[in-house]
């Protein structure tokens, strides 16, 4: 009453700062930036604990170990961004591995690989249609597909590993360009494509919009049906791509391959800051999540900690990362 401050345009809320923020400031505040710090911190600690950690050879080792889980985690990111989950990637990985190994017995490599990828995509399409068209819960559908996939891979393989794959296959892993192995190059290329797609295309933004508010996205005329199915197709196809790189290294296909791979992929996406409710996350975060997980495994090996401790370490990182994020968010909303 006594003080009547001059009213500015009342439409503009005062809790948004009026001055344009420094562009770098925005980068520092992102979750990806904090994850990068975490990854660097982890690398620092491990390089102190083990002299072998920060060697060129070990760095390539880490990147090499990141390829399979990294590829699968891209598909998982797509799915989780829509608010879904794909528990079947491990089983699809196993099954398409068997399909690829069988196909390689009777056809050339350039035909066998697309066939396996197509099979993976087909399985993803199946899940995606059940989820998007029939409205079934992603968790349940992919749980079912996981059981079916694993069972079929045992049947198709005759319950044993298939070896005797053509030796040329290893070219996709061991040929190098500028000293970088082909599989690592592929991984980098894949992440660049996925990042570009998710950030700058209609499809990518629709995937975010679906995870954030599917009803609003649909009402705004976006093709929510198509882009709800697509992530599962991508996820299935990428599981097959991942198994191709795996087979090229091991030179044998095991029906149990990729067991619990889905959990690693989900862990990487979650560490990378994606929300399991959808709408929030990025492939950059996922890549950092993958590197953090692989570094922990690699580092613990180097300092000769029993492999049974790996689960504890990774589990703790997930929980600490989520908790830290929550505390930061609380602080920023409270004061």
């Amino acid at each position: 009453m006594a003080d009547t401050p001059n009213t500015p345009n009342s439409d503009i809320p005062d809790h948004v700062s009026t001055a344009p923020a420094h562009p770098l400031h925005a980068v520092f505040r992102t979750l990806e930036f904090r994850m990068l710090c975490l990854a660097l911190l982890l690398a620092g600690i491990l390089s102190i604990l083990s002299p072998h950690f920060l060697t060129e050879r070990n760095i390539f080792n880490i990147l090499d170990q990141s390829v399979v889980i990294g590829i699968v985690a891209v598909g998982m990111t797509f799915v989780i961004l829509t608010g879904g989950i794909d528990l079947s990637v491990g089983a699809v990985f196993g099954l398409t591995g068997i399909i690829l190994a069988q196909a390689l017995q009777i056809m050339p490599i350039p035909l066998a690989i697309p066939l396996a990828v197509l099979a993976g995509a087909g399985i993803g399409l199946f899940s995606g249609v059940l989820i998007a068209v029939f409205g079934l819960a992603p968790f349940v559908v992919t749980l079912g597909v996981m059981a079916i996939g694993r069972s079929l891979s045992f049947i198709a393989s005759g319950q044993r590993s298939i070896s005797g794959l053509p030796l040329d296959l290893d070219a996709i892993v061991y040929s190098t360009f500028l000293g970088i192995p082909a599989n690592v190059l592929f991984l980098i290329g894949l992440y660049l494509c996925a990042w570009g797609y998710l950030s700058y295309t209609k499809g990518g933004r629709t995937i975010y919009a679906i995870g954030s508010n599917a009803e609003a996205a649909r009402a705004a005329g976006l093709s929510t049906m198509f882009y709800s199915i697509l992530p599962y197709v991508v996820s299935g196809a990428l599981a097959a791509v991942a198994v191709t790189f795996s087979l090229a290294q091991i030179m044998s296909a095991d029906p149990m391959a990729g067991n619990q791979l889905e959990l690693d992929a989900i862990a990487a996406v979650v560490i990378g800051g994606a929300s399991l409710y959808g709408g929030r996350g990025s492939v950059i975060g996922t890549l950092l999540g993958v590197l953090i997980m692989v570094m922990i495994r690699n580092g613990l090996n180097l300092i000769e900690v029993s492999p049974y401790w790996q689960g504890t370490a990774i589990g703790s990182i997930i929980i600490i990362a989520l908790l830290a994020e929550r505390l930061i968010n609380w602080r920023s909303t409270r004061n």
Binding site: I12, P20, A216, A220, S332
Partner: protein, 639 residues
Amino acid sequence: MLQTSQKAEAEPLLTATGVSKNFGKTRALVDASLTLRPGETVGLLGANGAGKSTLSRIISGHIQPSGGDIFFDGATLSLNSTRDALRCGIALVAQETSLAPDLSVLENIFLPNLATKGRLSYRAMRIDANRLLAGLGHEHILPLDAEVRTLSAAQRQLVEIAKALALDARLIIFDEPTASLSATEVDRLFDIMENLQNNGRALAFVSHRLEEVFAITNRVTILREGKVVAEDVATSSLTQGDIIQYMVGRDIGAIYKKRTVKPEAIGETVFEVKNLKALPWVRDISFSVRRGEILGLGGLVGAGRSEAVEAIWGLRPRQNSDIQINGKPIRLHKPADAVRAGMGFVAEDRRAQNIVPDLSVRENLLLAQMGQHRGFGRGYGKRANKVAELISDLGLPAHRLDTSLLNYSGGMQQKIIIARWLLTQPKILILDEPTKGVDIGTRSSIYRLLQQAADAGLAVIVISSDFEELLGIAERIVVMSDGITIADLPASRLTEEKLTLLAAPRTSAARNQALLAELAETYHADAVWTLLDGDELICLTQAAHDNAPSAGLTPGEAIMVDQTLIPKAIREHGPGFVTETDGLRQTLFTQLTDKRGHDLGWISLTIAGTAQAPDPKNIRAKISNLTSTDKDDLNGRHP
């Protein structure tokens, strides 16, 4: 209300002083104070973002204050949760509903009871719930076993109100409870609020609607930008202008600036819907809108307005429809079809149906544009100029485009959502409750935005429960009741009272229809229920006996008195039957009023001129009997 002066001396039930609340750097409340006394209703007013919701949420334990003292019932009140508040007897009927969507209406009404120990008696709850809903007058449209998620926004609010009533709270804060209620429902709510007040409860009423503030509150506390600018002032000492002045700090002039439409500016019919059917809410809806015209779709909550446009938009299954754009039939299966056909749609629930919270302001603004865009990219470049133009119109600095939309006030969010559609340059724009929960200043700028768009040739369809708003903004109004379009009239021929009457729900309409049928049958007559406005008649419903002479009236149409076949009877409306000059017809034209003496229109009963006229007293008795049973009915339902 007569006891106000005595009540003012009553010990306050709640006194809050020096209350402040910071959200980050934002000071949402600064040194606010509020006094609530038993048996009194205090209006808590302010524009959006003024801090009235923050204050009510502090008092109801939803959030904790950053500073200040609150005394409740003589003791310091310190609330850590809403449960603490409920235990003290403080309930909030919230603006954004806090219901559990998967539980039934019954379970939601008694949700706080679910947290108590011991067994629940569903039977007792059911009886209580029926009593509460009957008090609200909504027992028919709120099935107790329905899941709350299946209810419309307005019905959810009714559940919310019943929930607070079920708690028997001593202090109830109504945070914009009328935002989605129609005039009749607001009346009922006010009856209930008066009742609660007379039972010694302290009520706080948060609202934007000034008429309602004057109707229900004893005192007002007005906030602006987190500060109290008028504290505990008697409502009777203020005018609407005073309150607006306090709220916005400047004179905003008339909210509804009537558009001057030149008849030639209104073009050909661009959009037409015939016999739309989308059960269970939409049974038979037809309307059309022309280029440059603003059409209002009016009706009470539950009339199926939102459901009808959602069905058109492809969000609900349709059983039958014939939709035409520019005279050509078009098949709309999903929203994308409508978007590409040049339509836009601002849905009713801003948070659930319009905003994509994780996308930035820019992306939200361009969302429909992206939906319309064909191609692999986002298509953001195409409309860059239009975006720049729109955001400067909205008063939104360009560098804020990449922040979260959730940081903005409800009014700004709404303007951005409307701009989202204007950006696609549609031919037809449908807006469902475009000013719900929006402050007065923003409301008038939304109206301006729509009027400018209509002037530029857009066909606008506005749905609103606020009849004053409909009359203020629309040139023509289509009235719906119970899933059927019942009238299509120019706004200039309507008033709020007439609209309320036209939109009357089935129960009374069915009763009136039954009466007309009975009269028609008994007296071999043409019985019509009409509204009379000067030289004009609006015919609502009709029942005619086969042998009766026609009065020349057709339901849903307006007609000049002289064009009817019974002008003499209408003009004279004497106590008995009046024979027309040609001697072919004799008519009893008698008025219908409700329990409060409001004009409910006229009943006209036309029989052959040669027939023996029945005793008009009997007929009048039958007619007044109708409204008096209405009265008993309503009173009987009160708790």
